[in-house]
């Protein structure tokens, strides 16, 4: 399928060289060295990300157009909002073509030289050490995971719910800082319920992707999360509410007997 879809993407992005880096259920992600409106020098190494939501043939064209437009706009809006919150690292928004489902953003992360040059998502970053227990549980990893947890906490303090927290949607930058990506399912909400579910999704994701060390990793993430709320009294009350709801979500009926 991809050839056809890439051609379609190319027709919306004429004269822009595209390179596919990932293909999910909803969108195709490309990299390019061309900036949409700034002049690009030939030897520039800066890369940009283009996220393209192709039309889905199976659904009614009217429904498809509405969904693509809504989701693209929502994601761009959130990215824009996040750039105004300095504690949360996320790719900056560069350009938006809502009708065609295209978002341009900054590229974050780097290629892991010791792991087949794969992108430095938390998943790959942790998987490098999966077979080596000593390396998998070092202080370096602890600090990084606490930073990740802290950033998720900061997002929640600002009422941003990521909606799809998995280790592939978190990038570790070269400076070993955490950065959140893929806000396709994100929304804003102040409800402890939504935050609890967000944490639960992360918990499940770590458990299924890094089963060997999941318990320790989750502990570090949660330690960082609590730190992300800061020390003032109001935030601590909110934190307590979220953690209580998180426990409830874990024990809840429909999902209770999910064994992985």
């Amino acid at each position: 399928m991809s050839d056809e879809l890439i051609q379609l993407a190319q027709s919306h992005l004429q004269n822009i060289p595209l390179q596919v880096i990932s293909q999910g259920a909803e969108a195709i992600v490309f990299t390019t060295k061309t900036h949409p409106y700034l002049p690009t020098s030939k030897d520039s190494h800066t890369e940009y990300i283009i996220k393209y939501r192709p039309p889905k043939k199976y659904r009614h064209p009217q429904l498809d157009a509405t969904l693509t437009k809504h989701r693209t706009i929502a994601e761009a809006r959130l990215l824009q909002r996040l750039t105004n919150i300095p504690e949360i690292q996320s790719p900056g928004l560069i350009a938006l073509d809502a009708r065609n489902g295209i978002i341009w953003m900054e590229k974050v992360g780097y290629e892991l030289i010791d792991y087949d040059d794969k992108i430095s998502s938390l998943k790959n970053w942790l998987w490098r050490y999966n077979d080596n227990q000593e390396k998998a549980l070092t202080e370096e990893i602890k600090i990084a995971l606490e930073k990740v947890g802290c950033m998720i906490g900061k997002a929640h303090v600002n009422d941003v719910i990521h909606g799809d927290l998995t280790s592939s949607n978190i990038i570790i930058t070269e400076a070993q800082e955490a950065c959140l990506i893929d806000f396709g399912l994100s929304y804003q909400s102040a409800l402890p319920e939504d935050k609890g579910v967000d944490l639960y999704v992360l918990d499940r994701a770590i458990l299924s992707t890094h089963p060997k060390y999941a318990e320790q990793y989750n502990e570090w993430l949660m330690a960082g999360y609590e730190r992300g709320y800061g020390k003032d009294k109001k935030s601590l009350i909110k934190l307590k509410e979220v953690l209580k709801r998180y426990e409830e979500v874990r024990l809840r009926g429909r999902k209770r007997s999910m064994l992985g």
Binding site: A25, E26, K56, K57, Y58, L63, L185, S257, L259, G260
Partner: protein
């Protein structure tokens, strides 16, 4: 590879099971034969009999537990007799009796369990309780030959997206409130269209004549979905249409003539609901990394759903598997099939104290001993 024949009795060349299903308004009895050895294209399960009787209510009414249970009690003996005759077997050739343990409606389940227990004592045979969803999945796999698919299980009581991993069918996404079949059935009740042969089928026929798409809420949450809001919304539209509420500009033109028909409403409802199903299926496929999709459950018969799914799957260069109404809609044969697999692994029936039914019984509670 799991060895399926550890408990093959001496002198026997095959296994035979009878299955009783009655978790909702269908009462089904089926008899299946397995031959020793793993399943393959040459070693298929043999369907000896597969009959069903459906409790149909008048237009505008749903089936109530008490009346459905009465229907099952009235028909179960006749159906069992007929299926034994159809299969041409002697009772002594049957190895075990399988029944639906759950999930489902309490009263109908109970009436079938009592029938199964009685048979077990009359014929002195072991009893096996089967999870209804596992029955659907295993029968779907056996009929279509799908090896390790993402399973979309859509019926009147369930909407789940399931994939196999480490001896369990794990639920990746599901409805957060009502099931898709329930949503369609209840809209059929609002429209007061007949429940014969099934409300969903009649909606499908009406939808084929519709062409105008009316925007409805679209509620996918990750791999989960929610449908109660969509139902409430379209119910309101139908109410306004029937009662000539001309102020509703979504369905009436400025001059008071209706913009949409009942057929358009059915069409829009199907398009929206099925788009949601296909979307979560696609997400699950990407997540699990498989190329196969299997649709099971009553709503799986819907041709529009099958076509939409096919479009998505072919775009991903995958394979789609679906069955026809004999196996999609609740039936006894799937219970017999899944129960017989369980019996082949353990060689004995359930303890008598375990041969009860339960309304809540999740798909991932069952240990799938027969797969590795």
């Amino acid at each position: 590879m799991v060895h399926l024949d550890l408990h093959l009795k001496e002198g026997k060349t095959s296994y035979v099971a009878i299955g009783l299903e009655g978790s909702a308004n269908k009462l089904g009895v089926g008899i299946i034969r397995h031959f020793p050895g793993p399943f393959s294209t040459t070693n298929r399960a043999e369907v000896l009999s597969n009959i069903r009787d459906t409790y149909i209510t008048p237009p505008g009414e749903g089936f109530l537990p008490r009346d459905t249970a009465r229907h099952h009690r009235n028909w179960v003996v006749r159906l069992i007799k007929q299926s034994i005759i159809e299969s041409g077997l002697k009772i002594s050739e049957i190895d075990c009796i399988c029944f639906t343990k759950g999930p489902g409606m309490g009263a109908p389940l109970q009436s079938v369990v009592i029938a199964a227990r009685t048979l077990a004592q009359l014929w002195d045979l072991p009893l096996i309780g089967v999870n209804h969803c596992i029955g659907h999945i295993e029968m779907g796999r056996e009929i279509t030959g799908a090896d390790n698919p993402v399973v979309l299980y859509v019926s009147g009581g369930n909407t789940q997206i399931i994939a196999y991993s480490e001896q369990r069918y794990r639920i990746f996404g599901e409805t957060l409130d009502i099931a898709i079949g329930n949503c369609l059935d209840r809209f059929a009740r609002t429209l007061k269209i007949p429940n014969e042969p099934s409300p969903g089928y009649n909606i499908e026929q009406l939808a084929k004549k519709g062409s105008k798409y009316i925007e409805l809420p679209y509620t996918v949450k990750g791999m989960d979905m929610s449908m109660s809001g969509i139902l409430a919304h379209i119910d309101n539209l139908a109410y306004d249409l029937f009662n000539n509420k001309k102020h509703n500009k979504t369905i009436f033109n400025d001059d008071g003539t209706p913009k949409v028909t009942v057929e358009d409403l059915c069409f829009s409802l199907q398009e929206t609901l099925f788009a949601m199903l296909v979307e979560i299926t696609e997400r699950a496929m990407a997540h699990v990394g498989t190329q196969q999709v299997l649709i099971v459950g009553g709503v799986g018969c819907n041709e529009r759903l099958q076509r939409m799914m096919e479009t998505m799957v072919l775009d991903r260069r995958g394979f789609i598997f679906a069955t026809d109404e004999r196996f999609c809609i609740d039936n006894g044969i799937m219970i017999a099939h899944a129960g017989l697999l369980e019996y082949r692994m353990s060689g004995k029936g359930f303890d008598y104290s375990d041969t009860v039914c339960t309304q809540k019984f999740r798909t991932d509670e069952v240990l799938i001993k027969w797969r590795d």
